[in-house]
């Protein structure tokens, strides 16, 4: 097995406070499951929370997370920073993130290659960006700002998108690679997003995967999608996190693990949340893949 070679390696040092998530499967922590988790203490490698849900001051969310954090590794996953936004980052949002990370000291912090804010309005969705030099500079400047402010490495998640831009001059995977190389951030490889975007844009998932900076992967996401049709009647996949992981995504996950070796893997479910045991079974399925994944030869460092 050969790994893709990348140009020069990262020159920015990754901040020290980055122990990383355990190489196991984890679950998104949802409030309907607080009690299950606290009472049954399931064998889960880590939990992941959406940062913005914990921007509240107190109450049951912090009560549960404080107790869960005492027993489990934690990933804090932001969905509202608008790193791909044309506007400056919201400093208040960044301050709240800093306080949250200081409070819980998670093993990982991640955000999206997307925008969600414009003209002061928050759109509550992960919106696509055109991949050109201007965007590359903007995204890198934002990630530098985030990593400097939070004093830790960020994992950037590859997006699921439904439209492309005539203005794009770079392929998505090349854009991501450039961001990772310039900023020293890591990659949150969302395998479902790879599948969704490859179907939606008629890309080859094997080639897309191999064009990503796989040596920088710090976490993998698996989730379910919904099927729709576009204006021409062609299949359009919607990244809705409301279904079990699809067979095609499990297969792509196995392929990714062959390239990356075992990586902390999250089962994401944000809609139509089933009983905790259902998610636990999916997490166990991911652990079977992790166990089977061959440990790759140590990658050469220049």
């Amino acid at each position: 097995m050969t790994l893709p070679t990348h140009g020069e390696m990262v020159t920015r040092a990754a901040p020290a406070l980055d122990a990383g998530l355990p190489v196991r499967s984890g679950l998104g922590l949802k409030s309907p499951h607080f009690r299950d988790v606290l009472e049954t203490q399931p064998d889960v490698g880590f939990f992941e929370v959406h940062a913005e849900n914990y921007f509240v001051e107190g109450g049951p969310f912090h009560h549960a997370l404080t107790r869960i954090r005492e027993r489990y590794a934690l990933s804090v996953h932001g969905v509202g920073l608008s790193i791909g936004g044309a506007e400056p980052l919201d400093r208040g949002h960044l301050d709240r993130l800093a306080r949250l990370l200081a409070r819980y000291e998670p093993q990982s912090f991640s955000e999206h290659l997307a925008w969600c804010r414009h003209g002061g309005d928050f759109f509550n969705d992960l919106l696509p960006i055109a991949y050109d030099e201007r965007a590359l500079e903007r995204v890198c400047a934002h990630i530098d700002q985030v990593q400097d402010r939070l004093r830790r490495r960020l994992l950037l998640e590859n997006p699921a998108t439904y439209v492309a831009f005539a203005a794009s001059t770079l392929a998505e995977a090349d854009f991501i690679t450039a961001v990772v190389r310039r900023t020293g951030c890591g990659l949150l490889l969302d395998v479902n997003n790879v599948h969704v975007s490859c179907v939606n844009h008629h890309w080859d998932p094997a080639a897309y995967l191999r064009a990503l900076p796989l040596d920088a992967v710090g976490e993998i996401h698996l989730a379910g999608f919904a099927e729709d049709r576009d204006g021409a009647g062609d299949l359009l996949l919607i990244d809705h996190h409301g279904a079990p992981v699809a067979a095609a995504v499990w297969a792509l996950y196995a392929e990714a693990l062959e390239l990356t070796g075992p990586v902390a893997t999250l089962i994401e479910r944000d809609n139509d949340i089933p009983a905790f045991a259902v998610l636990l079974a999916e997490a166990h399925e991911a652990e079977r893949y992790l166990a089977q994944a061959a440990v790759p030869a140590r990658r050469a460092r220049p």
């Binding site: 913005e52 109450g59 439209v163 492309a164 939606n200 021409a232």
Partner: protein, 258 residues
């Protein structure tokens, strides 16, 4: 106009033109794909409001509620990614939403639900230490000059309608058909431990807590309560506040404001 400004406009307004420069691999109309984003934005925000205002929704039905929520979103998108705060202006919007006029108590039920969401996420605070309470109670001659600090989750809603009974009937407490909505009620909302409680306050108790929230010392608050209702029972009031952990501190006379 930047690329994102055009995209943002198309998300806000479904009649806005599809922004220029969007492409699709198969040459299909990008507007159909853009609609996925617009749908994500609107449905997720309507769902967020439905999560926060379940009884409001139950009172008018999902179709009416979602149409009303859509009008609210058109008027005001979230300004922050903290969606627990989105909806702060929804009750006032409902009050001015003409199609909801036949349900005059709807806005107040929404106000009650907003206070519940706020109470749920409010800052934590421990109940006052028993010895501090003992100290105040052991000095009856100065007791009236002490101030009270109440839990950050605590709030009072005085309504011209039976908001507590309407809300409780949707929690399986009481019969909705037997509720007279036009009976005025005052609700106390607070988080006791991890549970948000909604408690109907008699006129005297409502007056007492409103005075305390306004910074009055115990004596002045009791006086106001008695003026409103001669049968106001201070020990009953104190028992309720202690049971719910609502008193977080007692301020001695020399530090109390009034």
């Amino acid at each position: 106009m930047s690329d994102q400004a055009g995209f943002a406009n198309a998300l806000r307004d479904r009649l806005a033109p599809c922004p220029a420069g969007l492409t699709t691999w198969n040459g299909s109309d990008p507007a159909a794909r853009l609609a996925v984003y617009r749908n994500n934005v609107w449905v997720s925000l309507i769902d967020a409001l439905a999560d926060g205002f379940p009884v409001t929704q139950a009172l008018v039905g999902a179709d009416f509620f979602r149409a009303m929520a859509q009008c609210f979103i058109a008027a005001q998108l979230p300004r922050s990614a903290l969606l627990a705060e989105y909806g702060a202006d929804f009750p006032d919007f409902i009050a001015g939403f003409a199609p909801a006029d036949p349900v005059p108590y709807l806005a107040d039920v929404a106000r009650l639900e907003l206070l519940r969401v706020r109470a749920y996420h409010a800052a934590d605070a421990d109940p006052v230490a028993p010895e501090r309470l003992q100290l105040a109670l052991s000095q009856p001659e100065t007791l009236g000059q002490w101030g009270l600090r109440l839990h950050p989750s605590l709030s009072v809603l005085a309504s011209d309608y039976a908001v507590v009974a309407l809300w409780a009937a949707h929690q399986g407490v009481g019969d909705l058909g037997a509720v007279d909505p036009s009976r005025a009620e005052t609700a106390l909302v607070l988080r006791a431990g991890l549970e948000v409680e909604v408690i109907r306050l008699a006129a005297g108790a409502a007056g007492f807590i409103q005075q305390v929230l306004a910074g009055a010392c115990l004596g002045a608050a009791v006086e106001q309560a008695m003026a409103r209702a001669a049968d106001f029972d201070f020990s009953e009031m104190l028992a309720l506040l202690l049971r719910t952990g609502a008193i977080t501190d007692l301020v001695p006379p020399e530090q109390a404001a009034s």
